[in-house]
């Protein structure tokens, strides 16, 4: 369950599972589950283009930490009948196809609770996921969740925010495995002009408490941002920028477009081995 960033800076790519953008092939939510082959193809292309970790986003009806881009992607994915079990099946497929890629299930808490925390832990481990990130799970409420993650040897990844005081960062660092996800700024997911000054200060504060890699996300959308993040963190998380690219692409073009985008994130700069 090691999550390794092979290059510097590492790249974590978020995909809303089941979203095929604005021009979806008409698919039927068959009894065996929704067709997530489009997300599979994009994820494989992203890994082959240099993504170290794929965050598979479970669509949720009320994504209150997300901006309009991921809200729309969640609505589309749900309209296509995407269910948690489909996302877990996709994870298993990705693990079989790319044994060394990092794989994180990214979700709001309620779909996991409804599925059953214990059943989810077993299924995520069986699928070969490395870790789990729950957007609305804070360390104080995480007792049972942490026990389940430990039981099945999955990495719980917690979010750290610029507003988190040091004692919270300490608890977040102590309970996280895999990596710590540092939120670059106060706010919801979505693009921004530049990497907030908050981000570097936050990463520095997190490092006082852990030797885990630190990934910076929220608003990271181009090569300049990734380079900037690379100056102080181990990895950058790209979410809304790629989800928006998928939204604008045809289903056939999306994997190629995402691959080119990811290559471009590191392209202008020398690639260093860690």
């Amino acid at each position: 369950m090691a999550i390794l960033f092979q290059q510097h800076p590492g790249l974590v790519v978020y995909l809303t599972a089941g979203d095929t953008g604005l021009s979806p092939r008409l698919t039927h939510a068959a009894a065996e589950g929704a067709d997530l082959s489009a997300t599979r193809d994009i994820a494989l292309a992203a890994i082959d283009a240099g993504a170290d970790v794929i965050e598979l986003g479970v669509p949720f009806s009320d994504p209150l930490a997300d901006g309009p881009v991921i809200q729309r992607a969640s609505e589309r994915a749900l309209a296509r009948g995407t269910r948690l079990k489909d996302v877990l099946a996709l994870a298993k497929e990705l693990r079989a196809a790319r044994p060394h890629a990092g794989l994180v299930i990214f979700s709001y808490l309620n779909p996991i609770l409804r599925f059953g925390l214990s059943r989810f832990a077993d299924a995520a481990a069986d699928a070969g996921a490395d870790g789990v990130l729950l957007t609305d799970m804070i360390v104080e409420e995480a007792g049972e969740y942490l026990a389940e993650m430990k039981r099945v040897n999955l990495a719980p990844i917690f979010l750290a925010a610029p507003t988190s005081p040091d004692e919270r960062l300490k608890a977040i660092a102590e309970h996280s495995q895999g990596f710590v996800y540092a939120i670059s700024r106060t706010g919801i997911t979505g693009k921004q002009q530049s990497v907030a000054a908050d981000a570097a200060a936050l990463v520095e504060r997190i490092r006082r408490w852990t030797r885990l890699p630190v990934a910076v996300g929220f608003g990271i959308s181009n090569a300049d941002h990734v380079t900037k993040v690379g100056e102080f963190a181990d990895a950058a998380v790209i979410g809304s920028a790629i989800v928006e690219l998928i939204e604008r692409s045809t289903e056939e073009d999306a994997p190629g477009a995402v691959a080119r985008f990811i290559k471009g994130l590191r392209q202008p700069y020398p690639v260093q081995a860690l």
Binding site: F60, S61, D62, P63, L64, A65, G67, Q71, L78, R83, L84, Y108, L109, N110, P111, I112, L113, R114, F115, L117, T135, D136, M137, I138, V139, E140, E141, A142, G143, E144, Y145, F158, L159, A160, A161, P162, T163, S164, P165, R168, I172, I183, T186, G187, I188
Partner: protein, 411 residues
């Protein structure tokens, strides 16, 4: 460390963990909000112990809002139904037209005390939005209210009132464009502007400390009610009825009576237009435990944990989850939860208007409808107290349309 406890393991409504009501409640929020919630919890604790703050709140509740509200014996309604004696707790007479001002004043003063000058709020029927806009005008604070576009359409009068009061009303177009979506958008604003913004949440919902704090600001309803009924009748009522959306007026009315086991506490949810998921907002009969908008409670959801759409003729009850303390009171059996459908609610509006000359809000009319259902089967020494949480002026357009009032002699 707190954890999600299976409800079956809990029998007591009260729990010693702050923010927990039995298995329910808690804090399930993005990490960015945690520092603000802890700051709020601390500031609220300080305010409770601050005589200056308490005196200012008491003074405004009395002279600005109009407390205490009367407990009124509804003689003609009682005679017409021919059973239990019915009293109305007249929260509808408060300034701005509903109990919402109790909480808005408490939190508005707290925001000012904390030095936060930018206020955000969500609103469904618009009553909390109007109360918040009013308090912001009173205290000179900036006010932004999130409201679903569907609710802006059906409660247009309240939108105009908020704007007149100087608030900015931002329409929300996501989801069903109702209260749930307005709460999502208010939370997104708060996550973004958390350093200088105070979120006046309008019901006993959301992450700790809101369910406790909003309840406390509404406890005055039950405290007055208990004293008034003892003065008038020399004994406690058989039952107290209140509508339950998020549940702030109900928990405010119930709380003082929790220890009086002989007093039935009846919460009335929105039965909407039918029993199918999506046609109502009856969380206890149609929902199951889950996490929505920061708290663990009963949620209307599908088998995948996706939150369902809801329907009610009343915007204020049209919501997919319910305050966590109600969930605990439901599970331990201390309170009963029933629902009233749209048709019976409209009947209740007409009945109360024509027997008592009181036009109830559509939300509050749910409690009146349940009262009309049970009163005839009760004895004349039984006493029912209905918490009339708001007045119905805001609903005239909906009522006229639903009842197809043509001229003065419709119905």
């Amino acid at each position: 460390m707190a954890t999600i406890i299976h409800p079956a393991e809990q029998s007591e409504a009260a729990s010693n963990t702050p923010g927990r009501f039995g298995a329910y409640g808690g804090r399930y929020v993005p990490e960015t909000l945690m520092a603000a919630l802890q700051e709020l919890e601390q500031a609220y604790a300080e305010a409770q112990a601050d005589p200056g703050y308490q005196a200012e709140l008491a003074s405004l509740l009395k002279d600005f809002a109009g407390r205490p509200t009367p407990l009124y014996f509804a003689k003609r309604l009682t005679e017409s139904l021919g059973g239990a004696k019915i009293y109305l707790k007249r929260e509808d007479l408060l300034h701005t037209g509903a109990h919402k001002i109790n909480n808005a004043l408490g939190q508005g003063l707290l925001a000012r005390k904390m030095g936060k000058r930018r206020i955000i709020a969500e609103t469904g029927a618009g009553q909390h939005g109007v109360a918040t806009a009013t308090v912001c005008a009173l205290l000179g604070l900036e006010c932004i209210v999130y409201m679903g576009e569907e609710d802006m359409r059906r409660q247009e009068l309240n939108v105009l009132r908020m704007r007149l009061l100087g608030a900015q009303v931002r329409g929300v177009t996501s989801g069903s464009k109702t209260l749930k979506d307005a709460v999502n958008e208010a939370l997104r604003d708060w996550v973004t502007n958390v350093r200088d913004t105070y979120y006046i949440l309008g019901s006993a919902l959301g992450p700790h400390p809101y369910p406790t704090m909003v309840r406390d600001f509404n406890r005055v309803i039950g405290i007055e009610m208990r004293q008034q009924i003892l003065e008038k009748e020399g004994r406690l009522p058989t039952a107290i009825l209140a509508c339950v959306g998020g549940g702030s007026n109900a928990i405010g009315a119930f709380h003082q009576f929790l220890g009086d086991k002989a007093v039935r506490l009846i919460g009335v949810e929105a039965g909407g237009r039918g029993k199918a998921l999506g046609d109502h907002a009856a969380r206890f009969s149609g929902g199951s435990p889950g996490v929505l908008q920061g708290t663990y409670s009963y949620v209307l959801q599908d088998e995948d944990g996706q939150v369902s759409l809801t329907h009610s003729v009343s915007a204020g009850l049209d919501y997919a989850t319910v305050g966590p303390e109600h969930a605990a009171l439901h599970d331990c059996g201390r309170a009963e939860y029933v629902s009233a459908d749209d048709a019976h609610v409209l009947e209740a509006v007409v009945k109360l208007a024509r027997t008592e000359g009181i036009l109830p809000a559509l939300e509050s009319a749910h409690a009146v409808a349940e009262c009309m259902r049970i009163a005839p089967g009760m004895a004349s020494h039984d006493i029912l107290v209905v918490n009339l949480s708001g007045r119905g002026d805001k609903d005239m357009n909906i009522i006229a349309r639903e009842l197809n009032i043509q001229g003065a002699q419709g119905l």
